[in-house]
């Protein structure tokens, strides 16, 4: 009954302050501010969220990553008002999330991980209805918007198909497209590209980027690290209900290995085992001479094999800190052995490596969190 009272009073107070709602556009201001958020589903159950705090600035894309069951969806459900937190506070647009629900909901868009669709309607009619539900009352303006969205999301060929006749990917595209039927200041995307083909995925990411340029803030959860890397300005990694890392993608990479890089060499000839062993011994000798300089990486990797991988028959991938020095040693070795190189590249660690390292090492070291 108490919850109901809160709900009713929230509706009334929200409606009262509706007219005076305006948003700051300063990128340094937090659009979302979460402080010590906790969620416990039952009195005796463990905390699904255990003191989560972070800020999301206006006009940025915030990546929220974590393994399955880490607390991503619970956080998202709290921020989208579907769940109430057990304790802690959250503000969106400077408004209290619990007290100003309706006011906040008018300015956000949500694309959830699970499909949602009007099964009995065609794509065009469903978009039209969605626009109406969002308050787009002018039928002419709504029709134009539907046309624009159908074109942008390449849905014109299926506009007369009913939603329950569509493939998973098409349905997903409609679900994403639908959210752009209304104006919003903050968009929550929960693994939005699941089921999309590569071109639709890239189109969506670029479309989001375009909207971010014009002021949209995006809260983005994904398991696909390339997407996070492509889109996100800042990334938080959550595991077991706690934020274990929070930085820019570049910042995370630097914290992860400092100057750690990957050297990938493709040879013209097929590699033989004796050359691979020689390569491993050379790198190991250099490392011992250099004092095993692997700071910031994996201190357990002092064996002579774990940071050299062979891909296919003619490619080696070597993970080192001081790539410039190591590469000169390797080139000498290649020259001495009369080998020919087809291509060579030095790459920074991928975000996926960063993610795996942080999640796998979280129990040993919590110093990642800013």
């Amino acid at each position: 009954m108490e919850e109901k009272c809160i709900c009713m009073s929230t509706m009334l107070s929200d409606s009262l302050s509706n007219e005076a709602f305006s948003l700051p556009r300063d990128r340094s201001e937090p659009c979302i501010s979460v402080t010590n958020l906790k969620k416990q589903y039952g009195k005796d159950s463990a905390y699904t969220l255990n003191g989560v705090s972070f800020n999301v600035r206006y006009g940025t894309v915030f990546g929220f990553l974590g393994p399955n069951g880490a607390g991503k969806t619970t956080t998202l459900k709290i921020l989208t008002t579907l769940l109430s937190p057990s304790s802690g506070s959250a503000q969106i647009f400077g408004r209290d999330l619990v007290k100003k629900q309706s006011e906040i909901k008018r300015k956000i868009g949500v694309v959830s991980q699970d499909p949602s669709f009007e099964a009995n309607l065609t794509v065009e009619k469903a978009l039209n209805l969605y626009g109406l539900l969002w308050g787009l009352r002018d039928s002419r303006a709504r029709k134009d918007k539907v046309k624009e969205i159908l074109k942008t999301f390449d849905l014109e060929s299926i506009k007369n198909s009913k939603n329950d006749e569509l493939s998973i990917g098409q349905r997903r595209r409609v679900q994403l497209a639908r959210e752009f039927m209304h104006d919003m200041d903050l968009l929550f995307l929960d693994e939005p590209t699941v089921g999309l083909d590569p071109s639709a995925r890239r189109m969506l990411l670029d479309y989001i980027k375009k909207h971010v340029m014009s002021g949209l803030t995006v809260f983005f959860t994904t398991h696909i690290m390339e997407e996070a890397e492509y889109l996100c300005d800042e990334i938080a990694i959550i595991d077991k209900g706690r934020i274990i890392a929070f930085d820019t993608p570049t910042g995370l990479r630097q914290k992860y290995v400092g100057v750690h890089k990957t050297i990938e060499i493709t040879f013209k000839d097929i590699l033989n085992q004796s050359f691979i062993d020689l390569l491993k011994r050379t790198i190991l000798r250099w490392r011992k001479k250099d004092g095993g300089n692997m700071d910031g990486y994996d201190h357990n990797r002092n064996d002579n094999t774990s940071d050299i991988d062979v891909k296919g028959t003619n490619t080696v991938v070597i993970t080192v800190n001081d790539a410039e020095h190591v590469i000169s040693k390797i080139l000498q070795l290649v020259y001495k052995n009369d080998m020919q190189i087809e291509s060579i590249s030095i790459n920074p660690p991928s975000l996926e490596e960063v993610f795996l390292s942080i999640v796998n090492n979280k129990d040993d070291d919590n110093s990642w969190a800013r």
């Binding site: 709900c7 509706m11 007219e19 309706s102 949500v110």
Partner: protein, 264 residues
């Protein structure tokens, strides 16, 4: 300011109601909603009339034919049957992800409940009107409506819709699957349908069965509807209307509370 609040609340409810009518209702359900009572009136009505040798049935001070009795009963029955749509809309919305989506939009659970009830009131009244029109030749000789009895009947049908609609909403929030919901609601509604005065009069029944009839809100809906259609409103039907209204208000509050407390 109150007007602004009311406008925002009402407009959200109307939008959700419109959405229910255009998107959430299965057309086959609507056809069945009309077809079933009509078939029942014309098949069972005349078949049973032959069985009981067309003896008159008393409604208040009036003696009417069984077909007239059944037609008025089917209108009340139809309102109860139509209320299952509230649960169906909810389950379809949950299955298609629209329930959660609507709740992250500027809508509240309370508005969702009210919109579902309004939807089934509209469907209940519209189908009652259609049944009345189709069944008119069968009850033409007994119908006796007045300016007062028409709103009285409509009120009973609305209150009945709220009762059964809220009841199905409670049921659907408590059940873990749509299959479970269908089994339980069909079972309960079968009891409501046949342990009521929709198909046969309550007078002259064995006492336990007669008590069971008057524990069932459908009996009140049907009695009031008949009293309205045949202008036999008396103190007893007024008491039935008051009891029905109180029950409907109580069940509506429980349904709203169940919906608010439900984890999404």
């Amino acid at each position: 300011m109150k007007q602004v609040i009311d406008y925002i609340f009402i407009s959200s409810v109307l939008l959700l109601t419109y959405r229910n009518l255009v998107a959430a209702i299965d057309k086959m359900f609507l056809i069945w909603q009309i077809a079933f009572p009509v078939v029942y009136i014309f098949v069972a009505g005349y078949a049973y009339s032959a069985l009981i040798k067309d003896q008159g049935i008393n409604v208040g001070a009036l003696s009417i034919t069984y077909v007239s009795f059944l037609t008025a009963g089917m209108i009340g029955f139809n309102v109860m049957n139509g209320s299952q749509i509230a649960g169906t809309i909810f389950w379809n919305d949950k299955r298609n992800g629209m329930f959660q989506q609507l709740l992250v939009m500027p809508f509240h659970k309370v508005q969702y409940v009210i919109a579902n009830l309004i939807t089934l009131i509209i469907i209940g009244l519209a189908s009652a009107a259609v049944i009345m029109i189709i069944g008119l030749p069968t009850i033409f000789q007994d119908v006796n409506v007045t300016l007062w009895s028409i709103p009285y009947t409509i009120l009973a049908l609305v209150v009945g819709s709220v009762f059964f609609g809220s009841f199905t909403i409670i049921l659907s929030t408590k059940m873990k699957s749509s299959e479970g919901y269908n089994v339980i609601s069909n079972g309960l509604f079968l009891f409501f349908a046949f342990v009521s005065s929709a198909f046969y009069p309550a007078k002259g029944l064995p006492e336990p069965l007669s008590i069971a009839f008057y524990v069932n809100p459908l009996t009140y809906i049907v009695d009031i509807t008949r009293a309205g259609i045949f202008s036999q409103i008396d103190v007893f039907t007024n008491i039935e209307l008051v009891i029905l209204s109180l029950l409907a208000a109580m069940v509506f509050l429980i349904a709203t509370r169940a919906m608010i407390r439900m984890q999404v």
